[in-house]
Symmetry: C2
Subunit: 337 residues, 2 copies
């Protein structure tokens, strides 16, 4: 068990300095604060919260860690989380991190330094380990993701999300029903142990059920959720392969970038290529044609995450796992083969 | 001078209850909290902060009130504010409010209830009065707006934004230079005492300098910054008028909705109608054609707001007013007449 002395020794500061950082005193330099929080992460230090509570009152704050804050999909979710926190008498502390960052370590550090009551992790990995999350130290809810690849005890955390595999099956089936058989998939990374891998599994299963062997050459991997990466990956794909008639994009932002790449390569949507996605962000109502997509209930995802966390914090219910469903917005990017 | 007793009497609660709300104690019902904060706003109550400071330490928090949080233009600004706050050793407390809400009252209530050091108001009105802002009680910075129509003493607050009128002049001049003379403007409300009015003034001045009398019939007013409103207003305009060759949209989101309305009405961009905007959001790189727009330095706006506020808080400098410039992203939506 790591103690506060271990943390102090690791970063060569006094125990009182570590204490000041963990209790969020302003009289610590940003550099020292960063070093102490790094040590806390590396050493998996769990503070003795009963000792802390003697000194400082618990706050009424819930932390929201947003991984990949540039994704417009999250904007209405963040809004709903803030509104629901306020309605329930809690404050929301927002922390935005890049898409590739470690939301568990960042969340753990935030929970300690801000003395949070609980955490909502928005847009995270699907493979948390029990040891890794032990550093969080407060109840948490995974919002928009589950823990399919990890070893967490399901009673020790909550989640609210759509069923990624089932929704991917639905999207690909819609394309099959319109006569498409050569269907490409646009995703981040098929082995990411996360959202891409789950949706890729759904894609493969649907094709196989229809007697079609998935073709590695029809996988367009972007390596990131950044729109520029989706544009370039689609453009590269179009430069090497043309015998396909549809793209399933795992996110609206990727689909919007793909529509642009298809246009720039001289292909018409949906005449030459159909496109379907999952998300339903506001902007995809205004693509030309309107994007065909499975809309996620963005506000409900945020509201439900807060409801679950508040129930746990107030002892009204234990942890639970909620699956929500998408709604098809037909749009105009899917045509018949 | 309003006292805490006046506030308690106004909402029929005990003085101790008002005190608990202002000091952010968790043991107040959400309903009572809302009533007390409403009374604080209505009565322009300014708490005696030196008395408060005897009881509770000041936090290291800076509040960010985002007015119109659904606007994707703000996402990179919010990200930059959070990063800059953290780098300077402060926490950011986010509060998102609808586009029509009163950011001064909301900011004042937030500053009190969270015991903030300072405030950044992102996307606000341009007509604050001295009396109105007295309730804020902490230093504040207007980010993306100035106080052109209000009576604030310039040494009592800071601002960082582009020069709305100058940027509108630049956009309209670009259209004039390509031979356009019948130029429509797409805006929220030409008399809003805010961003729309400033940019509308720039539009009128540029036309007049070119010998063109602005035509009321070429003003497309949406009444809001919501994309759906911009789409409907443009569609209504196109149903009644076709003898124009260009649209200046005061925001990228409005321009993206207009591109869709033009397409749905059978008009080609830029052959039948040119479109230029101001903002430079990421999404407008992916419209077809790419939107021609004057890009605002979104991250710099956020960074600069924090730098100014921290300088004021730490006594390193007084309030100041910074004007930043846009950069033309040529795009493909502007053609020659």
């Amino acid at each position: 068990m790591t103690t506060i002395k271990d943390v102090a020794a690791y970063c060569n500061v006094a125990v009182s300095t570590v204490s000041r950082v963990l209790n969020n005193h302003p009289d610590v330099s940003p550099d020292t604060r960063a070093r102490v929080l790094d040590a806390v992460r590396v050493l998996h230090y769990v503070p003795n919260s009963s000792a802390r509570d003697l000194v400082l009152p618990q706050t009424d704050s819930i932390g929201l860690v947003v991984r990949g804050a540039e994704n417009p999909f999250f904007t209405p979710v963040i809004r709903a989380v803030e509104g629901s926190c306020e309605a329930a008498g809690y404050s929301m502390v927002l922390h935005q991190i890049p898409a590739g960052a470690d939301e568990v370590a960042e969340g753990a550090a935030l929970a300690m330094s801000k003395r949070l009551r609980g955490l909502i992790l928005l847009g995270g990995r699907y493979d948390y380990t029990q040891q890794e999350v032990s550093s969080i130290g407060v109840p948490f809810v995974c919002c928009t993701h589950t823990n399919h690849f990890g070893d967490l005890d399901r009673t020790a955390f909550s989640s609210v999300s759509v069923d990624d595999k089932a929704e991917a099956i639905r999207a690909v089936q819609l394309l099959l029903d319109r006569g498409h058989t050569d269907i490409a998939i646009l995703l981040d990374d098929r082995d990411d142990h996360s959202i891409s891998e789950r949706r890729y599994k759904g894609y493969c299963e649907t094709l196989r059920a229809a007697g079609i062997e998935p073709d590695d050459d029809l996988v367009i991997e972007t390596g990131s959720f950044v729109m520029g990466a989706a544009y370039r990956a689609t453009a590269d794909f179009l430069a090497r392969r043309r015998n396909f008639t549809a793209i399933f994009a795992i996110a609206d932002t990727m689909a919007i970038a793909a529509l642009k790449a298809l246009h720039d390569a001289g292909l018409r949507v949906p005449e030459d290529c159909s496109v379907i996605a999952i998300d339903g962000i506001e902007m995809s109502n205004y693509t030309i044609p309107t994007l065909s997509t499975l809309s996620q209930p963005q506000a409900t995802l945020g509201e439900e995450a807060v409801r679950i966390l508040v129930d746990v914090l107030e002892g009204k219910a234990g942890h639970r796992h909620v699956r929500l469903e998408t709604t098809l917005r037909p749009g105009g990017t899917v045509g018949s083969r």
